[in-house]
């Protein structure tokens, strides 16, 4: 078991490093899949089978596909990818923050008082842990309110995305409608100004049957 864990963990770390170091986003996405799969293996080794499967189903199977979809739609050229538009200080800041995070995590897990024993060693997993039923009862019995609140947040996010993404469409539709009405008014004015020949008469008659009488 420990060997499997080490392999999966090492693979997860390696894949994650590849994700952030690839220049081509498609390869980043591919390595991301590898990382997700490795983490799923770790979950499975921890008896959290449901979590492992959901990890693959949702993250690898659905979310990453959407990422991939967007990348393929944009289909950046090598020239696009080579362009550097990272602000000057960002690299330094990012490295510093990563070092801080690594340091804190290392302190928690390796040194210091909290890690005298392996984490959670005094709290063995409850019976049926990781099971679908256990998972369901945890979410829907114990943490129902929190769960529903989170889904509300996600719903709000979806609504916001629709509003932002479709705004142009809505306004565009309104403008197009105004344009149509303007043209109609023009045609009506032409028809009212007297017979200017067959073509004008006909358009007026077709567009406004009521006024033709």
């Amino acid at each position: 078991m420990d060997v499997l864990f080490l392999v999966a963990a090492a693979s997860a770390v390696f894949c994650s490093l590849m994700v952030v170091s690839r220049r081509n986003p498609i390869y980043s996405a591919a390595w991301m899949m590898g990382a997700l799969a490795s983490v799923a293996v770790v979950f499975a080794l921890l008896q959290a089978t449901f979590l492992a499967v959901i990890q693959v189903l949702l993250y690898a199977g659905a979310i990453m596909v959407l990422f991939l979809f967007v990348i393929m739609l944009l289909n950046p050229t090598p020239a696009d990818l080579a362009r550097e538009d990272v602000p000057a200080g960002q690299r330094v800041l990012a490295t510093a923050l990563a070092a801080v995070l690594l340091g804190v995590l290392g302190w928690v897990f390796l040194g210091g008082e909290p890690a005298a024993a392996p984490p959670f060693a005094d709290r063995p997993a409850p019976v049926g842990f990781g099971d679908t039923a256990y998972f369901g009862s945890t979410i829907y019995d114990e943490y129902l309110v929190a769960f529903e609140l989170i889904s509300l947040v996600i719903l709000a996010a979806i609504a916001a995305v629709v509003l932002v993404g479709k705004r142009r469409l809505l306004i565009g539709g309104i403008e197009a409608r105004a344009e149509r009405e303007r043209q109609l008014a023009q045609a009506r004015a032409r028809a009212a100004s007297g017979p200017e020949g067959r073509g004008a008469e006909r358009t007026a008659a077709e567009e406004e049957p009521v006024h033709a009488h």
Binding site: N24, I26, Y27, A30, M33, T49, F50, V53, I54, V56, L57, A60, G61, A62, V65, L66, L68, F69, M72, L73, N75, D131, T132
Partner: protein
């Protein structure tokens, strides 16, 4: 792991690997007869060895790789199209338990207690093969095919999942094995208690979504040969193309096997199999029943392919998002209400 488990694995692998050649033959033969042709007649009796000839052709063919192809992903595409789908069969029970001596052998590779979800997770990975293959070919038609496949499969996965959710709710378990066992009783004394009778809407949605997931006509947008040449596999040749081909048939087999297990009673057929009998004979009969059911569904795949025309892309999306998903959601709600009452 006992020797028996190993035998079961090898046996299932052998069966599964022999289905695609049979499917290729059946597809060509059925297509031909529906169209008033004979189909393959030259290689072996009734052209039965035609798949072998095809395989030899594919294996010995020159492999052409486009100059601009992204090699690593280009090689990964066919593999990803084939392997995850085949893995999903691990949780499908091929037959009833059988008792040899003191050991009880399950005709199933692994009885995971997340069974159905495992299948959904792995089949959802198949899209990567098409997407990577399409993108890495450095060609416009495969790219469009790959794009379409990712959009289509993500869309229909939702409907597929929701259909399964309704079944899970009415069955009260996620394990495919337990679902199959629960379907072995009789309903009103004559009707087998298959889920298709309890969940007809879910069965219909699952069927339609399965067609879309497997890129089969009438939903074969990703390859749509009339508009996209060959779709995602346009630039593939030789055995790499063959892997895509095999992957499609394996995915169909998986979907059929899952559908048989979820909706059509799995290995059971009242009168032929006895769920309380764990003899070797009963187990073998049940395995045969299962395979016949899978074969019938696979025939249905072929039959529909040569009957229905292809959907247009916007029609496909509208059907998925505006019809199937709301219907599946409503089905879940109704199932839930029945469960409460």
């Amino acid at each position: 792991m006992s020797i028996w488990a190993l035998l079961v694995i090898v046996g299932i692998l052998l069966i599964v690997l022999h289905i695609p050649p049979g499917m290729i033959w059946a597809e060509r033969k059925v297509a031909a007869r529906i169209q008033g042709r004979w189909g393959p007649t030259r290689v072996g009796p009734f052209g039965l060895l035609q798949p072998l000839a095809d395989a030899v052709k594919l294996l010995t063919k020159e492999e052409v790789i486009p100059r601009g192809a992204e090699r690593p992903l280009y090689y990964m595409g066919p593999l990803l199209a084939f392997v995850p789908g085949a893995l999903a069969l691990a949780v499908v029970p091929f037959g009833h338990d059988m008792r040899v001596g003191d050991t009880v052998i399950q005709l199933q590779i692994a009885d995971l207690h997340v069974g159905v979800l495992f299948v959904l997770a792995l089949t959802s990975l198949a899209v990567y093969g098409l997407a990577f293959g399409g993108w890495s070919s450095d060609s416009k038609y495969p790219l469009l095919g790959g794009l379409r496949s990712s959009a289509q499969m993500v869309s229909y996965e939702v409907a597929l999942g929701l259909a399964v959710v309704a079944v899970i709710m009415s069955a009260g378990t996620v394990s495919i094995r337990e679902m199959v066992l629960a379907q072995q009783e009789l309903l009103f004394g004559f009707l087998p208690a298959w889920n298709v009778f309890f969940q007809p809407v879910a069965a219909l949605i699952f069927l339609v979504a399965a067609f879309a997931e497997n890129n089969r006509l009438p939903f074969d947008m990703p390859e749509a040969e009339a508009e996209l040449v060959g779709g995602y596999h346009t630039e593939y040749s030789g055995m790499k193309f063959g892997m895509f081909f095999l992957g499609e048939y394996v995915a169909m087999t998986v979907m059929s096997a899952v559908m048989v297990s979820l909706f059509f009673g799995g290995w059971g057929l009242p009168g032929l199999t006895d769920p309380h009998d764990t003899s070797v004979g009963n187990a073998l009969v049940s395995a045969a029943v299962f395979l016949v059911k899978v074969a019938a569904l696979l025939f249905f795949y072929i039959w529909v392919r040569w009957t229905l025309p292809r959907f247009r892309y916007d029609q496909l999306m509208r059907l998925g998002w505006k019809v199937l998903i709301p219907l599946a959601l409503a089905n879940v709600v109704v199932t839930g209400l029945f469960g409460v009452l």
